[in-house]
Structure formats: C-alpha cells, structure tokens
C-alpha cells in the first residue's frame, strides 16, 4: 500500500484526523424479542479517539437516552474477542453485513452529525435488538460432518504429513469463524426460524467450504462420500444461485466461490459414480 492510495475501507493512511469530540448519531433497529414489532431509536454519541461500533454501543449502554431525550435501555448485541477472530459481533452496518469490532467510526462517520445505522443480520431470527440466533449456521456444520473422525484421543503417533501448499489452502479455509456474513448476503439463503426445515433449506457457502476443507485432509477424507451426499439433495450445492455475494462480504477473504466450484465438481463425479454403482 502506498501513502496516497485509499485503503479498501475508504480512508487513506495519511489523512487529516477526524474531529475529536464530535457527536455521531447511531440509528439502531430495536426489537424486544421474537414476534415483537421492531422500532428505530437514535442515540447521539460523543466520539472518543479510536472509537468503533463496540465502544459506541458501550457508551450508549452507560447512558441509554435517545436524541429525543427519552430514557431507553442498553442495546443488546453479541460480541466476543473484539479482534475480528471470533465472529460474534456481526451485524448490518449502513446496509452492509460485517463485524462491528473492526468498524471504525473515523472511517464510517468522520464528520459532526454523521449517522451510522445498525441493524441485526437479516437471515437469522432476532433474539433481541441486534442479537440474532445463528444456531442454523452451526447446525449446517453437523450436516456436512465438519470434523476429522479420529480414532480417539489416546496416543497414536503423528498425523499425516502434508505439503506446504495443501496446508496453506486448508489454513485459509480453516480461518472461517462462522460469522454468517456469507449467509446474510446470499440471495438463496432465506430466513428460516423453523429448525425442522433447515435440513432442506440452502446450507450456505460456509458449510460447503468446510466440506471442502475436511475432504482435503488425509483422515477427514474418509467421510467425503457422506459429505457429498448431504450436499446433493434439497438445500445442497445445486441451490447456489452463483450470485457470488458470499465471497465479497467474507471478512477473512476465504475463497468461497472456489470452494463451491470444487464441491460442485466433486458432487457431479460422486453422483455419476453412484449412478453407475447402483
């Protein structure tokens, strides 16, 4: 990166410091619980140096009064590491799904009176305010058997040797933090609160990519057939509409579309093999 080129986040590395002490408005979509109507509330937050969405939500929690002067309650949201490795604090910020910890206010709202809009992810049921229930995402990992079926934890020596290239590919795929950005941005992945219907609803890019990850591992391979079976039917890989939104919003730049293509090929071969075998 050079001194002048703006970074992908829209700020140049060297720039005039945004005015410290300015006030930014946070327009937040609130909801008391499942089935309850949602409403918008706006809070004015004085911006301290280095502020991000998390620190602003913390400031609101300490003094939850709207711009109309109405006493409200602290906003409910999910968060964990605040370093963009746990995936918890995902939400929709100014219309785009992303982690709130890495969302710097100086980049999003550099001027006095700028507005930042926060909404919960759209494809998962709201628990309260910005906190959504992402159990479906973890359920999908069960569907594709996203694990290496080891013989047990007793000592059995080393794992398989592996070429650096293979490790590099697997490491990249293994950085998926189950944040759900790829699902929220996917036109084929729709809100489905009924857990009974998850097994036939589109599984999503993250799980397809995890299937590829474990199919690549020397021991993980033994479940390849089962993984591909689970991706052949309803809600499997053929539901992908190739919109390619997933790869654009992935905060870890995981090559999700490559994974979809790789699994697509594997499923085709697998289904032929099964056709001739049966």
């Amino acid at each position: 990166m050079t001194t002048t080129a703006p970074s992908p986040k829209g700020f140049s590395p060297v720039r005039a410091a945004p005015k410290p002490g300015r006030t930014v408005l946070f327009r937040i979509k609130r909801c008391e619980g499942p089935g309850k109507p949602s409403r918008w509330e706006t809070f004015a937050v004085p911006i301290e140096r280095g502020a991000n969405v998390i620190s602003c939500l913390q400031a609101i929690a300490a003094n939850p009064v709207t711009i109309e002067g109405k006493k409200s309650t602290p906003v409910v949201w999910d968060a964990g590491c605040l370093e963009e490795v746990c995936g918890a604090c995902t939400m929709v910020i100014n219309g785009k799904v992303r982690q709130s910890c890495s969302c710097l206010i100086d980049a999003y709202a550099p001027s006095e009176g700028d507005t930042v809009t926060l909404e919960p992810m759209a494809k998962f049921p709201v628990i309260r305010d910005l906190w959504v229930d992402r159990s479906r995402l973890f359920d999908a990992l069960k569907r594709v058997r996203a694990w290496v079926p080891i013989d047990g934890t007793y000592y059995l020596g080393q794992g398989p040797r592996e070429k650096p290239r293979s490790q590099e590919t697997r490491y990249k795929l293994s950085e998926c933090m189950s944040c759900g950005c790829c699902l929220d941005a996917c036109p084929q992945f729709v809100l489905e609160p009924d857990a009974a219907k998850w097994s036939t609803s589109f599984i999503g890019a993250h799980a397809i990519s995890q299937a590829r990850l474990f199919n690549m591992h020397e021991t993980g391979k033994v479940l390849t057939g089962e993984r591909l079976d689970s991706l052949m039917g309803h809600g499997g890989i053929s539901d992908c509409g190739n919109a390619q939104n997933c790869v654009k919003v992935c905060p870890k730049s995981i090559p999700l579309t490559e994974s979809i293509a790789a699994i697509g090929r594997a499923v085709t071969i697998h289904s032929f093999a099964r056709y001739f075998r049966d």
Partner: protein, 645 residues
C-alpha cells in the same frame, strides 16, 4: 479450550457431558492466541533440547512460584498433545518436506513452538470444537450455549451440580452433575480494558470463590508491554516490531500537541535508548513494561497527556516492513485506521493473562530426586526421560480438583502451571493438557469417588432447589433495582466498572507499592458499597444482557479485592509482581503460594502463604543473565510476513 479438551476426553470415556458456555464454544477467548504452542520435538531433541528443559524453562520463567511436579508432567505431555492436534487436522505450518514447522519463542534457545499461521489459538480451538460437534451428533455431549454459570451446588461439602441461567429466556435452573469442571479462563475485564475478550470477567471463578473454593496467587497478572490502545479493548502488538528496529519515544514536552512527524528528533525522548544504552528498545518485556508505565503514569509524559507512547517504524523502508512485519502491521491498520509504515504506532502495556486462579491439587508422580537439582544447563542431557507419570500420577482423582470435592478447575482459571509469569506459547499447552490429562481424573472420580456411592441424581432436591431459589432472588433484586428509575453515576454499573478498571490498572499492574495498594483497597470498598444499591439499566425479563453484566461487575469487585490484597501481602518482587518498596525476590518468606479464602459470613478475604513444592529444581536468580536481551520475542527472528486474511 480447556473445557472443550475435557469434554472430548470425558465424553470419549462414555460419560455424558453437559457443556455450558456464555458464548458458542467456537467463539471462546482462546481464538485470540496467536503465537503458538510449545513442545519438545524431534529436531530440537537432536540439538540437545528435551522435555525436561521445557519444564526447567517454565519453572524459571515463572520465577519459582509454581509447584514443580505438575509442570514437569505438562512438559512431558506436550509432544503427545501436538501429535493429537495434528491428527485432528490442525493446519500447522509445514516445511518443504511436509513436517511441522517450528518457530523460536520467548524463554528458550531452541525452536520449540508449533504454529498455524498467525492464529494458532483459533486453529486449535476449532479442532477441538469440531470433535465436540461430532460428539454432539453422537449424543455424547449436550451443549448449553448462551447459558451463564451462577454457582456450584454443594451438598455435604461436595459439588453435585451447578445453577445456571439461560441468557435469552432468563430462566434460572439447577443441573445435577457428579463432577463439575470449571474452564472459564482469565479475568482481564477486572482491569476494564485488557487484551481479553468481553466475557473474561472472572465472574465464574468469583462465584466458586464465594462458594468456598480457594483462590491462589491472585496478584500474579501478566502485563504485556506493547498493546494497541483502543476505545473498547487493547489489542496485542507483537514484540517483533521492536526486534525489527522499532523505536519507542514520547515528546519531551508534556502534552506536546504536535503530530508525531512534526516533532524533530531533539524534541523526542527515546527513553529506553537513553536509559538502557546497551539494549535500547529491546530490553526484556518486564523492563519495557515498567518504563513505559512510568513515563505515562508517573511522569505524565504520555502522548497528549494520555496513556500511550510511540512505537516508531517510520524510519524503515515500507517495503521492508511489509515483508518482515506485514501481518501485525495490518492488525494495527485495521483497528486504528492508520498505516504504521508512515505514522508511528501508539502503544501501551496491557493486562494479558492471569497466572493465578482457583487453587487446585494434584498427586505427585514417580520422579522424586533425593534433593532438588541445580538449574538445568541448556542443551545438556536431561536427568530423566519423558515417560507418563513422572510429574503427576495419571488418573488420580485429585489432579486439578479444587478444595471442594467434585469441583475441578482447568486452564487459565486455575493457578497450577505458570507460577509468577507465563512463558509465551505455554497457555494453549496448559489448557489442552488439563483437559486431556485431568479429564481422566474426572472420569476416575466418577468411577471410584463419592459419585460411585451416591450419584448426584440421588441427592435430595433440597440443595438444588435452594441454590436455584437463591439465584432467582438475586435476579429479582437486580430487576427491582432496575425498575426504580435511572441510575446516577454512583449506582450505574457501567460507571462502577469503569472506575474499577481505572483503579486496578493504576494500582495493581506494573508497579505496586503498599500505600497505593492500600488506597486501592479503600477505593474497592467504596465501589462495593456503591454496588449495594446498583441499578441495572434494564428491567426486561427477556434477554437482559445488562443484568448479566451488572451481576458480573459485582463478581469482578471480589476478584479485584483478592488481586489487590495478594499484591499487598506479598512483600517481595517476583515475576510479574513488582513492588517498589520490596524490589527483590524473597525466597525465604515468599517462595510460597498466596492462598486466598473467602468467608461468606463476614464477606471478608483472608490470606495465608503456603510453601510450594520445589523439590525438583533449586531456585536461582531470574536474571536471564547476559542473554536477557535474548529473552522473549526480541531473540526470535522477525516473524514472517504472514498473510493475515
């Protein structure tokens, strides 16, 4: 991480496991560990390294405060643990031939640290999370995620279950269990902002402490010298930035308003270089931490009068920096929005790890020399091999059990392995070791201990109902407080927490002294008093996060008091604990565990010092001699410019 390792091990033994977690387990704080995991390996072994030397380094690094037998067992197990993780599919970095690659890390002359990119902790916990998910599908493990542990249920001095609350429905209920393993990590949030995740409040440990579990070495809190100050948390900046020529400075003029690049060299105070002409910016961790702290807190010379100093790399070529330090510079750029290749970074020490924690027991293994040996000479032949059971006796039911029968503590929440200071890349190891090695102890306790005669299910319902009832009453009281109207600054839990963090950071981190610690205790007493009439900010009976937070603030006040009191009573300096009024280590009086007990009736803490078991290695001065400069990351070759994605 420790909890997942335990769940896998115990589940594997055919024992049904209920796993309770504040967050989906995949999102636990262990994901933040970057550096790696230490273990003796074939290459290092041929160069003269051994499990025994790893043990010796850990004891020495911990400044002879750890009981020595458990550390020996952990070091001996380390290579087996790496092999297991490898089998689970952890993408460890590889050599051209496909072997696991190694890096040099603090406290060792040998390459003994295994790593997976720049996110080793994340990769390790994912591997265990995957195994647990597999067991979940197989019906061996049941997960209770977004449930908060409120306390152990005790019957006749024995732990027979827990009380927990669903953070969505706010339902409080008790769960019978023949054994309970606490694996809840550290307590960084006691300091307000730290490098810890948002749930690392220490509340679970505090709840056990209140129930009668002893808390050991609370004052041993590791502070990392270089972190990126943030409005919400402090993120680590690797020391390799200094190793690559980074210069630490502040403006000579207090509160100089100029931008860093407008300040000419004569107006800059390169305080490390001036004070330590020999080592300059690469003085060891503890010295760097103390000096930066002194400059900001005592001398008020921090940038713009705030708690930060410059770590300057701008005199280096940007291309060179990208090549050598790309990964870590990207973290700075991502979270500060400034390119450190062109503008000096602002850094400050940050609370990072708690060596202390719940007190745990163990049974010694077979290795018991007639007298303690001299410090191991690096690279020389080890006096013993690395067979299982030399350090701790495998399967003994008291291994990592607290003073309450049936209640175990694994991972950072216990005090067992790191003494007064933890070595880099030993944390992940101790977590997984506890889960695997002591998981068997839990299984054996079920088979041979009290549950065999009287399972928790057959205990009368009274203690379960009483425990759940008590927590419901507390919950209702918080709700009532919330509906009484707006809190003022005195009763606002967020403000109490903020003041707590500021006070603890000022008094109980880098530099401690009796007067300051006494002042801190007085402040804590004031905060506790204010907390009695605390007003949670939300009276909702559904998904009331504010209430859960408020309750944790109360628990943090207790942990803080233990940290402060331990710091006051330990009248010496050792490892991470530095007292200006007692600057030397005092083995005669303080090579002892700080044992803290809570008296529920008087709500008071008491402290006693109990001797450690140092029967394996004799203590020597922890100077790192003339290789001091080689300590920690500064000795390590610059980290490869890892693509951080």
């Amino acid at each position: 991480m420790a909890g997942l390792a335990a769940a896998v091990r115990i589940g594997e033994a055919g024992i049904p496991v209920d796993l309770f977690s504040l967050v989906p387990v995949k999102r636990s704080h262990s994901v933040c560990a970057q550096g790696g995991i230490n273990a003796c390996n074939d290459v290092a072994r041929q160069q003269g390294y051994s499990e025994y030397e790893h043990f010796d380094e850990t004891i020495y690094g911990g400044d002879y405060l750890a009981d020595q037998h458990p550390v020996l067992e952990m070091a001996n197990w380390a290579p087996r643990i790496i092999d297991l993780l490898d089998r689970m599919g952890v993408p460890f970095n590889r050599t051209a031939e496909g072997f696991r690659d190694l890096r040099l890390f603090g406290g060792s002359l040998f390459k003994r640290t295994h790593f997976a990119g720049a996110t080793t902790g994340q990769q390790l916990i994912y591997a265990l999370d995957e195994q647990v998910r597999r067991y979940e599908v197989e019906g061996k493990v049941a997960k209770y995620e977004f449930w908060e542990f409120l306390g152990p249920v005790l019957d006749d001095g024995r732990c027979v279950g827990i009380v927990a609350q669903d953070l969505r429905t706010m339902q409080v209920r008790s769960f019978p269990a023949d054994a309970v393993v606490i694996a809840t990590g550290g307590c960084g949030l006691v300091y307000g902002k730290s490098t810890n995740s948002i749930m690392c409040t220490g509340a679970a440990a505090a709840r056990c402490f209140k129930a009668g579990v002893w808390y050991a070495n609370p004052e041993m809190i590791q502070v990392h010298p270089t972190a990126i100050p943030g409005a919400d948390k402090l993120r680590l900046m690797s020391e390799s930035a200094r190793g690559e020529g980074g210069r630490v400075w502040v403006p000579r003029k207090k509160g100089d308003p100029r931008a860093p690049r407008e300040i000419p060299d004569p107006d800059r105070y390169y305080f490390l270089e001036e004070k330590y002409p020999k080592y300059g910016n690469i003085v060891p961790r503890d010295i760097a931490t103390r000096e930066i702290f002194d400059i900001c807190v005592n001398q008020g010379l921090g940038i713009h009068g705030e708690n930060s100093v410059y770590l300057d790399l701008t005199h280096k070529e940007p291309e060179y920096l990208t090549k050598k330090l790309g990964g870590i510079l990207e973290i700075y750029e991502k979270f500060v929005g400034v390119d450190p290749r062109h503008e000096p970074m602002k850094i400050f020490p940050a609370v990072h790890y708690s060596m202390g924690g719940l007190w745990t027991q163990y049974t010694k293994g077979r290795y018991n020399p007639a007298q303690a040996l001299e410090k191991h000479r690096s690279g020389s032949a080890p006096p013993i091999g690395s067979e299982v059971g030399l350090g701790m006796a495998p399967g003994e039911i008291n291994n990592m059990q607290t003073n309450i029968q049936g209640l175990y503590a694994f991972g950072e929440v216990n005090f067992a392995y790191h003494g007064a200071n933890r070595l880099g890349a030993n944390a992940l190891l101790s977590c997984i070791f506890d889960g695997l090695f002591c998981g068997v102890s839990v299984s054996n306790y079920l088979r041979d201990g009290a549950p065999a005669k009287k399972p928790a299910e057959s205990v009368s319902k009274t203690p379960f109902d009483a425990a759940a009832k008590a927590e419901e009453v507390r919950f209702k009281a918080f709700l009532d407080g919330a509906s009484k109207g707006e809190p003022d600054a005195k009763t606002n839990p967020y403000i109490i927490h903020k003041e707590l963090g500021q006070e603890m950071t000022a008094a109980c981190t880098v530099v401690k002294s009796a007067p300051r610690l006494q002042q801190c205790r007085a402040k804590l007493a004031e905060l506790r008093e204010r907390f009695r009439s605390v007003r949670a900010a939300d009276a909702a009976t559904w998904t009331n996060q504010s209430l859960s937070y408020t309750r944790a603030v109360g628990d943090m006040l207790l942990v803080a008091d233990a940290i402060c009191l331990g710091g006051l009573e330990r009248r010496e300096s050792r490892g991470a604990h530095y007292r200006t009024d007692f600057p030397d280590r005092d083995d005669a009086n303080f090579m002892k565990t700080t044992l803290t007990k809570y008296d529920a009736a008087s709500e008071r803490l008491s402290i006693e010092f109990v001797p450690i078991d140092g029967s394996l290695v004799k203590p020597t001065a922890r100077t790192y001699g003339k290789v001091e400069k080689k300590d920690e990351d500064s000795k390590a070759p610059p980290k490869p410019a890892m693509a951080r994605v």
